[in-house]
Amino acid sequence: MIEFRNVSLQYNSGAAAVHDLNFTVPDGAFVAIIGANGAGKTTAAKLMRGLLKPTSGEVLIDGAATTSLRTSELAKRIGFLFQNPDRQLCKPTVREELAFGLELLGVPDAEVKPRVDAVLEDFRFDPERSPFALSRGERQRLALASLIAVEPKTLILDEPTTGLDYRECMAVLGRVKALHEAGTTVVMVCHDMELVLDFAERVLVFSAGQLLLDGETRKVFRDTETLPKASVLPPQITRLSERLADVLPPADTVEEMEAAIRGRKGEKA
């Protein structure tokens, strides 16, 4: 469980600070953090992972403050996937890259190989290739795989789909979804509202460093009064449904909307 208690972070330069954040991410949740550029989403994600330290308040991971945990202890509990995979990758081959994270955390050598093999098998990577020779989408998948090898309880993804095409995006998120179903807690910073609707159970909306809304995904997207303040445009079908509220029952997915239209049409005929 991750808990934010009156967390504020102030930079001297005044950039992307956050103010008085209070929320909890329970074990096994899939939470999306949304909002405009500069709203403090990435700052919140980094606070959650202990990469940034709050200027006041505290962030607790299973009851322990991030400031009291060692780097390796944090890395064991929480995996963090960056927007840019190139900053994470630094080894000459895929195999070494996957082993590196485990070695860092002091996993015994005898255990490293089987665990790397399992991930290689799972992701179907060629172990001898150079990570830098892979495409952007594959590098993002490799960065994710190296996190998964560590088997953290929680995964934080900072705009994991930036620069990926649709298929690569689904490959990464499909994997994340499977992990979530197996019990991993997932926190995802994301700009694509269609993906948020498809994957996240709960949404935190940030605006100007503050938590503006916190609630169940579909409910949040129906809050047409608050969302514009955060420059968030709800997913297409939700918007369509709002516009057709006078003639159709609410629908958020293509299938629901189709059913609503056909139902209404049937009534008329």
Binding site: D86, R87, Q88
Partner: protein, 252 residues
């Protein structure tokens, strides 16, 4: 966020000086710092640097650099003190030997380094890079290609620094303990990260060159710049001051 080499917009006396004057002044202070062996004179130069910083409204930035230099200074000072073995012995324990000469050489090195670094930062704080390359090309007949290379290199320092801190952050997230107290271990951890930094830098420089060319870089001549630079009385005053400063450096 502005880095320690960034230009700080303003309208102080220094901002309004001709860029060439500022270049000559800052290099003049460096030269004076290198030709003088006198500790008091070096201290006076540092005081002058700080005074100029106040004049240019960038005192805070100068202080930040000064505190950054302090760590390096302590290290260099100790190194000199321990390695210089000539002169009057002040303290001796086994092979450890501290001499008066050692203290003097160490202090001189540290003060010289400080006195010569500050004016360069000051120059960049109160001069736009385009003006710097502008006077190099217009007045000193430096080919634009070289002036551009110089200013681009300066511009890319904060970009690369940001990239490096991003890489360190990403590696920390995987469990690399950069917060180790052991400096040798820390360097050992950072060195392998130069590979991703190098790869991303080469890509950036390629794209940068292409972008400049697509905007007519190769057509640029000495006449291209629309801005012209002219000396005002204050410029002459500062130039005379610089000459006197170097002369004083040679005398002391």
């Amino acid at each position: 966020m502005t880095g320690f080499l960034d230009y700080v917009p303003g309208s102080s006396v220094l901002h309004r000086l001709d860029p060439l004057t500022k270049l000559v002044l800052s290099l003049g202070i460096c030269v004076a710092a290198f030709v003088s062996d006198d500790l008091i004179f070096l201290l006076v130069l540092i005081a002058l640097d700080i005074l100029l910083g106040v004049l240019g409204g960038v005192f805070q930035k100068a202080l930040r650099l000064l505190s950054g230099l302090l760590k390096l200074s302590v290290f260099l000072f100790l190194l000199q003190v321990l390695f210089v073995r000539s002169g009057t012995v002040l303290f001796e324990l086994g092979i450890l030997k501290i001499t008066l000469d050692g203290l003097f050489v160490g202090a001189r090195l540290v003060l010289r380094l400080t006195a010569a670094t500050l004016p360069l930062q000051l120059l960049l704080s109160v001069t736009q890079l385009s003006d710097l390359s502008g006077v190099l090309v217009q007045r000193l007949f430096v080919p634009y290609k070289y002036a551009f290379t110089l200013t681009t290199a300066i511009r890319f320092i904060p970009v690369f620094a940001a990239e490096m801190s991003g890489i360190i952050e990403a590696q920390t997230a995987r469990g690399v303990e950069f917060d180790t107290k052991n400096p040798v271990k820390k360097i050992g951890l950072i060195l392998p990260l130069c590979v991703p930094l190098l790869i991303s830098s080469v890509g950036k420089i390629h794209e940068s060159a292409a972008a400049a060319e697509l905007r007519g870089f190769t057509l640029r001549t000495r006449e291209s710049q629309s801005k012209r630079y002219v000396f005002v009385p204050a410029d002459y005053a500062f130039l005379i001051f610089t000459v006197l400063l170097i002369a004083a450096g040679i005398l002391f």
